[in-house]
């Protein structure tokens, strides 16, 4: 679990996770596209994310595809959040959502 927090403690890596969340199953080229990061940097960040099991890869034909793996994040939720506060957080999350919708 240390690795998960370490991996998440970096804005570039979180942005890579966001990109996978928006579209799962991307190649390295897809992920580099439009990013202000060198290919080398993206490769390094992906290795750290993979080490933490937040990203997983599979071979699909000749391509290596990257997937967001939400299982460790779910486990963090179970370990520290759900037990105590999930009900309240869900209510607050709902309130935030409603307030934001009203703004639109």
């Amino acid at each position: 679990m240390d690795e998960v927090f370490k991996a998440l403690a970096d804005a570039s890596r979180r942005s890579l996770l966001d990109r996978l969340h928006a579209r799962n199953g991307q190649t390295l080229n897809d992920l580099c596209d439009g990013l202000a990061m060198t290919r080398q940097a993206v490769t390094k960040h992906l290795a750290i994310l993979e080490q933490a099991n937040l990203v997983t890869t599979i071979r699909h034909g000749r391509e290596k595809l990257h997937y967001l793996n939400p299982v460790p994040i779910h486990q963090i939720g179970e370990r520290w959040i759900k037990k105590f506060e999930r009900g309240k957080l869900a209510a607050l999350g709902e309130l935030k959502r409603q307030l934001e919708q009203r703004d639109e």
């Binding site: 799962n24 199953g25 099991n53 997983t56 599979i58 699909h60 595809l65 997937y67 793996n69 939400p70 299982v71 460790p72 994040i73 779910h74 486990q75 179970e78 759900k82 999930r86 009900g87 309240k88 869900a90 209510a91 999350g93 709902e94």
Partner: protein, 153 residues
């Protein structure tokens, strides 16, 4: 074949045999899978069903692969009206021993375009896999309380 929509990986401190049993035995699945018993004779092409406590079947499909304790694959789709535009998608489980751990990789592929199964399973699998891991490692599945899914009123 189209690329899988989802790939989930979890490492579980168990043996491939135990994990296999947990994935295929209804008595086990009932404990960590929101009370769902999987029902099948696990022969290729046989029917596969998710059976609830009241005997109702929520999801059904077919067994595609059964190669213990390494690879398991089945298709399923929810039978309710909500999912009428969905088709049975293929869930494949791969078990790989790594020392004291087993790496469980679940890929899910072949969803209908614009269907409702994909968003549903993408919430369901992480919870089910976390609960499975917890059950095998501690003997207790995760209890997912009602307050976790409903805001406090």
């Amino acid at each position: 074949m189209s690329k899988p929509e989802f790939v989930y990986v979890t490492y579980i401190e168990t043996t491939p045999q135990q994990l296999w049993e947990a994935l295929t035995d209804g008595d086990f699945t009932e404990r960590y899978w929101f009370g769902v018993r999987l029902r099948s004779d696990w022969k290729m092409g046989s029917s596969f069903e998710m059976v609830h406590g009241d005997g109702s079947v929520s999801d059904a499909g077919k067994v595609v692969e059964y190669d213990p304790p390494k690879r398991l694959a089945y298709t399923f789709v929810n039978l309710s009206e909500t999912y009428r535009n969905d088709i049975p998608a293929l869930a494949t489980f791969e078990l790989e021993p790594h020392g004291k751990l087993v790496k469980l990789t679940l890929t899910h592929a072949g969803f209908a375009e614009g269907g409702k199964m994909l968003p549903a399973i993408s919430k369901g699998w992480p919870a089910i896999l976390s609960s499975l891991k917890s059950m095998l490692e501690t003997g207790r599945p995760l209890e997912i309380p009602r307050t976790a899914i409903k805001p406090e009123g």
